[in-house]
Amino acid sequence: STAAAKEKPVIYSIVHGTLSDPFWAVYRKGLQDAASAYGAELRALGTEVHSVQGEVDLFNSALAAKPAGIITTIPDAAAFQEPLERAKNAGIPVIAINVTDTRPKAERDPYLFYIGGDEYLGGQEAAQKVLSVKKPAEAACWIHEPGHTGLEARAKGWTDEMQKAGIKSDTLTFRANNPTEAAAALKGFLTSHPNVDALFAVGPPPASVALEVLNELGKSEKVTLISFDLTQEQVEAIQNGSLLGTIEQQQYLQGYLGIEFMKLYLDHGFVPGGSVLTGPNLVDKANVATVKAQVEAGFR
């Protein structure tokens, strides 16, 4: 068995944000579950704050460790071009997850294939869901980490879709690390924009703050709130109606499939025909009951 343990392939996973983010926690669980199922040695790394540069530096370090394979997000195709080429030259296979280079295969960065969702589509879907229940007088979308490419893409999907429907949508850029401050700012915004009756929170931290603020202002009815990703709090909010729904990427799959596909590639050279899409997936009152237990168990 010691020989088998030595055989365990080392697989790195690298993401462009802090793994202490709730989103990545679920992803990590997918990684771990698959790693123990398939006998891989997992090394999951993330930056301390959202940082493409920090991620590339981690990627370079991972290359130096000469692992069997790397699973990475590609938040910026240009920044990853050179490192990915080096990985290719070194014969280290790379699977992209979560965000990627969207160019056609011939032009894009050299990696095997992509497992993930599409942030922009997710934003659009959030807007469509809101539009399916009402036509907002004015809308807004809250990015808690301005400049974070994935979040910006979600916001853009929402804003574009709202604009198509002829609805003005503001973008808020308050940070949510200090929820009290964020709450005060959101209240200020809602005071100065009394017509806003649809709000898109691009992740769990702003969703949590928005739920509390709307509740305190007594505007839970008036302002339709929709969000991204899933936490227990969001599930409960969907159940009690204060949250219309949430878009998720099923990021557990990104982690689990990342390891699984990497193992399959390493053992047998399998490569799927195209991208494996794990999202976007809408969770609303209709299906929330089915995901609730999953959320509590850390799968969503």
């Binding site: 308050f174 690390n177 915004f189 005071t191 100065s192 305190e216 227990q232 709090e233």
Partner: protein, 321 residues
């Protein structure tokens, strides 16, 4: 005349003028800034950050920094609900344990700074990373649901009255005078000023500088814990990033309130006003409808402008502590 002179002479006066200037700008700019809703939300923000910033101010007066407060706040915010949910620890016990941990962390920081003579900046930068890492280890990154059923306990930290005010304001009203008296009316307060203004002379005069600073490290950790608990009660869940970036903001509030980065100068009132100024700027801009990409830039401008008002009136203030 003498009264005016005396008022103008106080360190807090500059911060007060800055605060008034900021308030006037927003009151003129937007009609809603003086609404009850807006005032209460500014006060809630101010109370929370001031509870923390006051302790940080004392430490800065004594000539040291604590960069770890954000992480310690995160740790205590996470530990309490986690203990209650996962280990069925009774709420009160969980809170006591959190405070005990905070005391331990403060003692640890103080002891390393003092015993190993490593600059507090490095020790607490290490703390910033280490305690954040610990939060991550114990939560595995998952947000922790706050058991609201136990509302009764968290109400103690952050109950919201029907008129919109929050218990946190009462905490500040209770907390600030204690530190004010400590700083201005006790020998320990003397020692705080002396340690920061001239460490060598303070030692020569018999001030136990190391002990003073260690106690203040405990104060900052305990204040971070309290501020964390106040926040926990208000929002339904805590994630592992809670409190990130807070260290710079509380130092900024202190400095806006007149605290010197090189030690020896500062006041409780000034710091509270500094927190108020930051709170008003954030809230006022949002009310004024500046919420988008300009938001960050304009906060930067207004912070400098606020301190400018303070400086412009400084020459009237020339009385020693």
């Amino acid at each position: 005349m003498t009264v005016i002179r005396l008022v103008l002479a106080r360190l807090e006066t500059g911060a007060l003028l800055s605060a008034l200037a900021v308030a006037s700008i927003f009151a003129l700019w937007t009609s809603n800034f003086l609404s009850l809703e807006s005032i209460t939300s500014v006060l809630i923000v101010t109370s929370e950050s001031a509870i923390l910033a006051i302790a940080v101010t004392l430490l800065m007066i004594a000539g040291e920094f604590d960069l770890s407060v954000g992480s310690v706040l995160g740790l205590s915010s996470v530990v309490v609900p986690l203990m209650m949910v996962n280990y069925q620890v009774p709420p009160l016990a969980a809170v006591m344990i959190a405070f005990a941990i905070a005391v331990g962390i403060g003692l640890l920081h103080g002891t390393i700074v003092r015993g190993l003579r490593i600059p507090s900046f490095i020790v607490t930068l290490g703390g910033l990373l280490f305690w954040r890492g610990i939060v991550f280890v114990i939560t595995q990154g998952f947000p922790v649901r706050v058991p609201r059923g136990s509302g009764s306990l968290f109400d103690f930290f952050s109950y919201r009255f029907p008129n919109g005010f929050d218990v946190s304001l009462l905490w500040l009203i209770a907390w600030a005078p204690v530190f004010y008296v400590l700083l201005t009316q006790t020998g320990f307060g003397n020692w705080i000023y002396a340690s920061g203004a001239n460490e060598r002379a303070a030692r020569a005069m018999g001030v136990p500088v190391d002990r003073v600073r260690t106690i203040l490290f405990v104060f900052t950790s305990v204040s971070a814990c309290l501020a964390g608990l106040i926040q926990v009660g208000r929002f339904g869940s805590v994630d592992a990033t809670r409190g990130q970036g807070l260290e710079l903001e509380v130092i900024a509030a202190s400095v806006i309130g007149g605290t010197s980065l090189s030690g020896g100068v500062g006041s409780i009132g000034g710091t509270i006003l500094g927190c108020l100024i930051i709170g008003m700027i954030r809230n006022g801009l949002a009310i004024a409808g500046i919420s988008s990409y300009w938001y960050t830039a304009i906060i930067g401008l207004l912070i400098v402008a606020a301190v400018l008002v303070n400086k412009a009136t400084e020459r009237f203030r020339k009385v020693a502590v």
